[in-house]
Amino acid sequence: MNGTRAGVPTLAITGWSAVSPIGTGADGFTEAVREGRGGGADVSGMFDAPLPSDRAHAIPGFRASDHLGRKGTRHLDRSTALALVATKLALEATDADVAADGRVGVVLGTTAGSVRTTSEFSRDTLVQERPYLVNPVMFPSATINCPAGRSAIWHGLRGVNATVAGGQMSGLNVLRYGAHLIAGGHSDVLLAGAVEEFSPHMAWGHRALTHGYDVPLGEGSAVFVVEDAERVRAQGRLPEAEVLASAFGSGAPEDTARTLESAVTRALRLAGVDADGVWGVATGEHGIAGIDTAEDEGVRAALGGGPVRVRVKPLVGECNSASGPFQLAALLARYRSDPGLHGRVSVLTSVSADGAAGAAVVRGRHMPGPTATTAPAGEGSP
């Protein structure tokens, strides 16, 4: 179990964005969460290859050129396109000094990059007349770090550029790594988030992984602008939220509930917060008995049954590495929607099938949006 301790800053979130099956931008995402509006679309026309199901929580109408213009967007793989739009919207949403040369970076989570691009590249080595007759234009996209690298090029960000292959843990990974990068003086402002694309490859793989359960596959990207909270306050700026502390542990998959319990407990202790003070917990529960049960048990053991359970996967689908970022986005959407939550503490949890578990402690500020009213969404009784 490793938790953040002395010397690592509290992270301020000073802007965020989402490109999701339920809405685009922080406002669009917040509105959907407030209304409890889930995704789900006819995906049968998205690809030439067959899909295991005609419906998924994909974004069939997503076009990078709608947001970025047509120049330079033709040969983008879908993960990179989603990331470019999400990072663009995040940059537009923050009051951070994003023009500071070399001080602004990107840390994006993924599961295995654009699996579709990698597989199609590999396929060409089998089906083309010669095994090397691959499309060189797509070679960078077959490599896992393409979305982060291209985001830096598109936005001219010469600071730290990193890709974390964290799968379900990516949201926590990028927040924790980001805090250390800022503590070490490597960056002042980071675009931290994750991206995951829908494709036949992901859909067929997802079917094998979720055999026997009806869990729709999603896609999208959420990106948060993070900075040292102390620095933000010293500049007289007011962040939308703070990540007070986090903890990450790993163990045998059968011990996941206990690993999560200690991660939550440790993160709260590092944050100096009592379990009683937690109003809500955004979990990664996605509808598969074994792993959901472990997460539920771990959360209950650490926090009791009191906190509201914020479940975003019923809305956005299973978005793998983007799951944690969408959970965080859902928490921020709740803060935006409900003045009663102002200044109160919530928890984000993630677990992986490989035995890792972690938690982050978040304190949000109420920021009335264009259509702020209160209605619970994406949650059930804990």
Binding site: G105, P136, T143, G149
Partner: protein, 401 residues
């Protein structure tokens, strides 16, 4: 902040597994390059790679079931197991400590994606093996290390392509330095891939026989594989337990060219060197040896040498490339560079750049330590790593007196 040192090294490579074999090979300038056997390469005009032909995961890992893990994860776990043994740490005590792993990679478990692709081509989408998708996530490289060693802390895989090993060392250093962990295993792993070999070949970046970095007639990389791991802990802890200390991690620098996805950028690389020096609290004059990224492509070596001359002036320290022997081990390569450098620091030699024939006038006065290891007293090493996406990462190590 705590001082962080390297106390264990674990190379699983095509020139030797374990510190003794690997160190002897690097010192002797042995080549790990051979004709490709892991896939049918008969259709490729250039068909050499740096495969670890004798990799025997069952003999190296104790807990993992090799059938459940991809090749890169097994490289990572095997390297970690060796590094912990080299550090003289009791595995049971390590498992009880605040310990974790950070592994770097370019392509993670892409070999699994290639297998699934073969199944799809042969039998359609319905024919995919149901147990394989579980092995696809690249996060499993670090999970494999933690599971193999019973570590309960951080387990993170950084997929920043060919500089990922240095990113991993940097983050592990941060975690130990700040007190978030007491021990970290850091390094990188990758496997030889048909698609990556094809992609580099199509870019004109694969050499026909061997890689000859910094040579006038260099013609590209040799795709290669392996696992490389280092054990990081506090200087105080290492001294208290009487451990042998290879070197102190003095710091690291990261930046992004933000210029081109595949072409290296001399200005970005030079800036990364300056960042690494500033972070480590040194000046260029302090550097005794540069372990080059040195891929052997015309573009990389020119950009790297240009940046070195810019930062160090006309008379830079010796700079050699272990990729001349190992080939390009991708996400493991900068961790291998660190291991070779630290063995050289301990044993008093600079690793050579092999396959070197003619000086390239375009590279100015750089000294590539041609063909033979050179006796030298090394106090400070700069270890370069650059990558697709302009992901530059440089680590700096210093001898502890």
């Amino acid at each position: 902040m705590r001082r962080v040192v390297v106390t264990g090294l674990g190379p699983v490579s095509n020139v030797g597994t374990g510190v003794a074999d690997f160190g002897a090979s690097v010192r002797a300038g042995r080549s790990g390059v051979s004709p490709i056997t892991s896939f049918d390469a008969s259709g490729f005009p250039h068909a050499n790679a740096g495969e670890v032909r004798d990799f025997a995961p069952k003999e190296l890992v104790e807990r993992l079931d090799p059938a459940e893990w991809g090749r890169s994860s097994l490289f990572a776990a095997a390297a970690a197991r060796l590094a912990v043994a080299d550090a003289g740490l009791d595995p049971a005590e390590l498992a009880r400590a605040e310990a974790g792993s950070v592994m770097g990679t370019t392509s993670g478990e892409s070999q699994i994606i290639e297998r699934l692709t073969e199944e799809e081509v042969a039998g359609g989408w319905e024919s995919l093996s149901p147990h394989l998708p579980r092995q696809v996530p690249a996060s499993r490289l670090a999970y494999a290390v933690n599971r193999e060693l019973g570590l309960t802390g951080e387990a993170m895989t950084l997929a920043t392509a060919c500089s990922a090993g240095n990113y991993a060392i940097g983050y592990a250093y941060d975690l130990v330095r700040s007190g978030a962990a007491d021990y970290m295993v850091a390094g990188g792993a990758d496997s030889v891939l048909r698609w990556a070999h094809a992609g580099f070949y199509r870019l004109g970046a694969v050499a026909k026989h061997v890689s000859s970095p910094f040579d006038r007639d260099r013609s590209g990389i040799i795709t290669a594989e392996g696992g490389a791991a280092l054990v990081l802990e506090t200087l105080e802890g290492a001294r208290a337990r009487g451990a042998r200390v290879y070197a102190e991690v003095l710091g690291y620098g990261l930046n992004c060219d933000a210029d081109h996805m595949v072409s290296p950028h001399p200005e970005g690389i030079a800036e990364c060197m300056r960042r690494a020096h500033a972070n480590a609290g040194i000046t260029p004059d302090d550097v005794d040896y540069i372990c080059a990224h040195g891929t052997g492509t015309p573009a990389n070596d020119l950009a790297e040498a240009t940046a070195v001359l810019d930062v160090f002036g006309g008379n830079p320290p010796p700079i050699s490339s272990v990729k001349s022997m190992l080939g390009h081990t991708m996400g493991a390569s900068s961790a291998f560079g660190a291991i070779a450098s630290l063995i050289g620091m301990r044993d008093g030699f600079l690793p050579p750049t092999t396959n070197f024939a003619n000086h390239d006038p375009a590279l100015g006065g750089i000294d590539p330590v041609p063909n033979e290891a050179r006796p030298a007293r090394v106090r400070i090493v700069q270890n370069n790593g650059f990558a697709f996406g302009g992901n530059n990462a440089i680590t700096v190590f210093g001898k502890v007196s």
